[in-house]
Symmetry: D3
Subunit: 133 residues, 6 copies
């Protein structure tokens, strides 16, 4: 049964985070191998894969929370990318982060908007066809 | 034009917060009357009424941020009630607050779930028909 | 295997939190039954029961984190009680919370000290023999 | 020399916090007597009594920080009272807390404004002449 | 009337933030043009330009809040620079950030002091006459 | 007597932070000389040197608090290094930071684990014998 949680979690993690996920897990295994397993099992195997709320809505919830905390900028960027993968558009995320300003203050809303800008720029770049010479 | 922002904001504030909104504004006017106007104009007149993201998604964004901060429990309850008014169901909010646990820790996710439980109980009570004798 | 995690977790939860634990889980089941299971499985079944760090040191870690956050005063009191159950003395906790002041500021260190004072008073009261007349 | 720090600190603490200060120190001595001494010596004996910034400006700094944290509402009220004692007016504090909203979000700015309202109400009440019959 | 808020805000923003302001607004317009307008209108047009508290005191309030949050180091530096432009001296800001230590902990007070040191070094450099050869 | 606090504090600071401590104090003296003295006197001279809790347990308390705050990553690394100097092992710190996840969320627990990984890598490097040719 635990194997099920792991496999289900890893599938969802790879769908949400594409290329980023496995490299991250490798980095983590080098310091805390059991924790790398738990990261897959609990957030992804137990929660992200539940019915009752869409992947899109789950990511909207997560990026809002990470933007409001302001203490995990790398995770915020990773989950903004996952939010785009889960079907939220760039324009919806702009609206969501603007809507945060009255509740988190402008500085954290601005950090989230600039993180989104960077993620979109990186995404566009990686989507460009390789230049031929 | 400023009058437009105020009127548009007050309409939206009353739609989202029903009976709670006006009493809150009266309390605030007693200490900071200009701020009571700004609360209506900026968050509600400028942001909540924008197109591009539904009222439901805006409230999901806001309750996720307030739950993650953990420093405004009264506002969290007010916005959970507004989230229900904007079309999020109790079960969707349960899923959203569960999904927060890996990002905010369990204590703040639990606080949000218990706040939701209270709001639903109060809502149910106020919706009960008056008892006849 | 999941049943193992749950049983192992519930045992540890009851050892650490004595009378408080089951009532808390009942309250939680009324709003989010699956989350009540996860609270037992992940923090208690997966982490608190690991070898490599004593229950005493785990509770010192947790009360320090909760004191530093300042956003979960009820959980702080519950985990101070668990810290006493796990073998930390009142005087060691006084030293630990004093040591926090330069890192968290005095207000949060003071909140933790007053929470400890309350927990000790409640503990003493519940430990008193019933008065005979 | 340490006695100097303590005496100088206690004088300043009593000037800033009037009736509140000694009761607070007594409560603290019951759980952590050495910490009660340090509270007097370091914040008050070392810092509040330095030249180079007025008592008024020091209190403006402190209430702004406590309002922005949102995790020590009791300390915020105590320092708002001290801010009034140090020469800041109610209207200046209203302006300062309004000015915080774009940086802390509205919820924490509102909490600070309502704390100020309470402190002023308590202050007014305690300043009323005893009624004769 | 909205144009008034924008113009009044932009004037104040340029006075406080000198060269930094316009570049920042351009960066923001590239991802969220309406938000760039709101940044000018609400914090600057509505609040910074109000009577009742000096620009100096407003900046003391803001840098204290940003230092206490610790989540917006770039904004903290921008507002320290604005604080110097608004009449606070380097020595007054040193005193203010030292005074924060008992309330925010030393780490955040130290971060603010080192941010001030950097801002002063950059300011001194940009104020140096161009070297002739 | 104040000289005692300073000397006692400086000894402890150098024991805990080895090479890092003096360079840090020099940097701080350049902006706030009196604060450099207070950093030695209060946290180190008054608190770290008290009996009643071991240096190891004090560092476990401090790294847990700094990890939970997430706002002082440089200080967290400095105190992880001091934790190793005070007798906590790498494996105990891995367990402690894993144990934080349910209370702080995964992102802050992960930041602490990656900070530990970096500190251990730097430590290993500086402990390597000079290569002979």
């Amino acid at each position: 049964m635990s194997d099920d949680r792991y496999r289900r979690g890893l599938d969802r993690l790879r769908t949400l985070h594409d290329v980023v996920g496995d490299g991250f897990l490798d980095d983590l295994r080098a310091i805390a191998p059991d924790f790398a397993r738990m990261v897959v099992e609990f957030p992804y195997g137990d929660l992200h894969t539940r019915p009752g709320l869409s992947a899109r809505d789950r990511q909207l919830t997560i990026v809002s929370a990470l933007a409001a905390q302001g203490t995990a900028p790398k995770e915020l960027k990773i989950h903004i990318r996952a939010a785009l993968n889960a079907g939220l558009t760039r324009d919806e995320l702009v609206e969501a982060f603007m809507q945060l300003a009255p509740y988190t203050g402008f500085p954290l809303a601005l950090e989230a908007l600039f993180a989104l800008k960077q993620v979109c720029a990186e995404h566009a770049q990686s989507a460009e066809p390789a230049k031929e010479d």
